[in-house]
């Protein structure tokens, strides 16, 4: 007797339909075989399925069982074939009816319950796009699939429960549909901007970076508050919009980064890989190409603390993703594309000892050491960072007594309000384009959307000679000025916007 159950397979972020064919033959030795390029984790499924069925109080058929995973020429990995295989066997035993257009997906535990499984979100997305009606997934992962109106998502707790459902004894209630906008969560951060005393310019730069999605580098002595500023950044970023939310959830679901019971992701990712992170860990790769930190930071923030301490090869690998917004990983067994549109936030010390230009501590580095230290980050990489700021060391005790400091203190919520407004303006502007933020503008967009008066042009020309701006920095300044103008809610870039943008030009790493 041959039963066909439908399931799905994730290759990178692509999903393919998989037919799980289960044949139970009355003749032959009682065996249990899985074919169709099953990897180790799929092969082990045999023992899980056998034990789970037995522990659910159903006798495991003592017959020759053959399972084929079609298409049979694509290697398969993962534990989520447990459920379709078990259902296939059980439907042969109990003669239950498998509803049409149904997908099964989930890992079994030995006691017959279903475990949280990675990739449920992608599978549900595939079900919606391929016109399926029902999906059966583990209850703990079902929330991920709840955002698709078109399909019925059945949260399954135990194997016996789904059997009761299929036999029509006791039906499982499909999970309630939830709008993406409805998954409301406030963007949270470790620190509030109001907790950071002083650093007015750095905070303003953060606001601009958050508004336009610009990359930013902070240079400052140890203890000046670079890390604190970066960690406060998530608090001023707007929530993900629906499209972004789905993109991010895809990556997090497939890597198993959504916790059990978790829903789709609305909060912008904030990733902080340590400087010992390998190249593969950062950009992705491996034998079976998996997404790296840059893809996990998609639509969010990639914070690289101690920027200069990262190996040069690792940093240079960021160049192409920074430009293209995605990374394509090619291995002998295929190529995978992962999105990687992130905002890079870097922090660095001004010199190896860290105290160059420090008001009270002396720097012990020689000129040559400083030059070598700064050379670790290449010009082309720095060129892709729009905002450069130096974060001064502050005397917090003195500042907390200064009344004028508190005058400028703003909570993250107030700043986020302005950021959200600026983002809305950008969204409207780029409605017909493929980009979302000012930082993504190419030269053609700049000509189209960055209007300014001759006076602004004069400032730019003057700055070009006074600060020796390169052609690329020239465009960077225009992009930053565009964002500043958006923050001021103005259509045209004013001279003051351009002059402020010049504050954030690069002046620390040779190129000025």
């Amino acid at each position: 007797m041959l039963i066909k159950i439908l399931s799905a397979l994730n290759v990178g972020l692509e999903t393919l339909g998989v037919d799980v064919e289960v044949n139970i033959a009355n003749r032959g030795m009682p065996t249990f075989e899985i074919v169709g390029l099953a990897g180790k984790s799929v092969d082990e499924s045999k023992e899980r399925v056998r034990t789970a069925i037995t522990n659910s109080g159903i006798e495991f058929p003592s017959k020759k069982i053959t399972v084929n995973l079609a298409p049979a020429d694509i290697p398969k990995e993962g534990s989520f074939y447990d459920l379709p295989i078990a259902i296939g066997i059980l439907s042969a035993v109990t003669q239950c009816i498998i509803p049409e257009k149904s997908l099964f997906f989930g890992e079994l535990s030995l006691d017959g319950s279903l475990r949280h499984t990675r990739g449920v979100f992608l599978m549900a997305l595939f079900a919606k796009e391929a016109g399926f009606k029902n999906v059966f997934v583990p209850k703990q992962s079902a929330n991920e699939a709840a955002v698709f109106k078109e399909i019925n998502v059945y949260p399954v707790e135990r194997l016996s429960q789904i059997m009761a459902h299929l036999l029509g004894k006791q039906l499982i209630e499909p999970i309630e549909y939830q709008e993406v906008q409805g998954v409301l969560k406030r963007q949270t951060a470790e620190f509030d901007m109001a907790e950071i005393l002083g650093q007015e310019q750095a905070k303003r730069a953060m606001e601009i970076a958050a508004s336009g999605g610009h990359n930013i580098i902070m240079v400052g002595s140890p203890g000046s508050g670079k890390t604190m500023l970066a960690r406060a950044l998530p608090g001023i970023l707007p929530l993900l919009n629906e499209k972004e939310s789905l993109e991010v959830t895809k990556i997090y679901s497939v890597t198993g980064n959504i916790p059990a019971g978790g829903s789709i992701i609305r909060i912008r990712p904030f990733r902080t890989p340590h400087h010992s992170t390998s190249l593969v860990g950062l950009v992705g790769g491996g034998n079976k190409p998996h997404p790296g930190e840059i893809s996990l930071a998609h639509r969010g923030v990639l914070f690289l603390d101690e920027f200069n301490e990262f190996p040069r090869s690792v940093l240079e690998s960021l160049r192409q993703p920074l430009e293209d917004g995605n990374i394509s990983i090619t291995r002998s067994n295929g190529r995978v594309n992962y999105p990687a549109k992130f905002m890079l936030v870097a922090s660095a010390n001004p010199c190896p000892c860290g105290y160059l230009n420090h008001p009270t501590k002396a720097c012990t580095c020689t000129l040559r050491e400083i030059k070598r230290y700064r050379k670790r980050v290449s010009g082309p990489l720095l060129d892709r960072i729009d905002l450069h700021i130096e974060v001064p060391s502050v005397n917090t005790e003195k500042l907390s007594q200064d009344e004028r400091v508190s005058k400028f203190l703003e909570s993250s919520e107030i700043i986020r309000g302005r950021v959200e407004k600026a983002r809305e303006i950008q969204q409207k502007r780029f409605e017909k384009e493929t980009i979302h933020t000012n930082a993504e503008m190419k030269n053609s967009h700049i000509k189209k959307y960055c209007l300014f008066s001759p006076e602004v042009e004069k400032i730019l020309a003057k700055a070009g000679s006074a600060f020796q701006l390169s052609a690329r920095s020239y465009f960077k300044m225009i992009k930053v000025a565009r964002t500043i103008a958006d923050l001021a809610d103005l259509e045209q870039i004013e001279p003051s916007h351009m002059a402020e943008a010049l504050q954030y030009r690069s002046r620390f790493h040779g190129e000025s």
Partner: protein, 286 residues
């Protein structure tokens, strides 16, 4: 590029150098050997670990002095030496670098650009050592005697108590040349040497004219031109910055203006040349 060697018996040998006790027997050189260049020489020496104060003053004063036609002699080391060479080129003047090694070696090697610029601007690279002679610990003091010997006077910008700059000043004293010293804060260890020189009778330098007077040169006063270009708030900021260099955040607090606005003004002022930035701090260009 011209290069060669000048023997002590040669008529072209600089007179001032001949007067010292143990003049080098021959001088190797690169560049254009023109006797004029030795006419009015000023040695500018100072610490390798200059402070921002030392650098600012060296840049400003040396530029003015060099543009008045005085040749700046120094030792091509990084720090005050390199700053002085660069400032004299900026001022359109000529400069002589006395190397502690053969003239074909650029030492320190990363100052290749400065080396080339000195030659391009009718300057000279000289040394008593053969062309490919490597620098050694004993060659520096020997080099210093030439720096002092070539010059009518020596200007010490910043120096610690035990430093090569004070050795140069010692030579200048021995050769009965005038010593100028820049006074500095008593708390700075690179001003201890210069302050000691002043105590011992060196001439205090507070402006470029102090040195130009010694060479009998008058220079038109270009001060306070900046003020005419500064307007309103710019004027106030400029006055504050003249008193003390400040960071943008501090200025923002002082005037109670958001840093975005202050940043706008500071950018414009920088472009006008009213102020410049060093590290975090803005400094008035006086």
């Amino acid at each position: 590029m011209e290069e060669g060697v000048v023997d002590i018996k040669n008529k072209k040998y600089p007179k001032a150098l001949k007067e010292i006790k143990n003049p080098p027997k021959r001088l190797y050189y690169r560049g254009n050997w023109d006797e004029d260049i030795f006419e009015n020489c000023l040695a500018v020496v100072g610490s390798r670990r200059m402070t921002s104060y030392g650098r600012r003053i060296a840049e400003k004063m040396v530029r003015d002095i060099a543009s008045a036609g005085i040749t700046i002699v120094s030792g091509f080391m990084y720090g005050i030496d390199a700053t002085s060479h660069r400032a004299s080129l900026d001022g359109g003047g000529r400069t002589i670098a006395v190397m502690p090694c053969g003239v074909n070696i650029v030492h320190p090697e990363y100052q290749g650009e400065l080396y080339d610029d000195i030659l391009k601007n009718k300057g000279l690279i000289i040394s008593e050592f053969e062309k490919d002679f490597p620098p050694d610990i004993w060659t520096y003091p020997k080099r210093n005697r030439i720096v002092a010997g070539l010059s009518k006077s020596t200007f010490v910008v910043e120096a610690a108590l035990k430093s090569g700059s004070l050795i140069t000043a010692g030579f200048a004293k021995k050769y009965k040349r005038r010593i100028f010293a820049l006074p500095g804060p008593t708390s700075s260890n690179v001003s201890e040497g210069t302050n000691r020189l002043i105590k011992d009778g060196a001439s205090i330098v507070t402006c470029a004219q102090d040195i130009l007077d010694f060479y009998d040169i008058k220079k038109s006063d270009s001060n306070n031109l900046n003020f005419q270009k500064a307007e309103g708030l710019e004027k106030k900021i400029l006055e504050i910055l003249k008193r003390e260099p400040m960071e943008i955040d501090a200025l923002s607090r002082m005037f109670e203006i958001p840093s975005s606005k202050i940043g706008t003004i500071l950018s414009l002022m920088t472009m006008k040349g009213l102020i410049f930035q060093e590290g975090r701090k803005y400094i008035a260009n006086y």
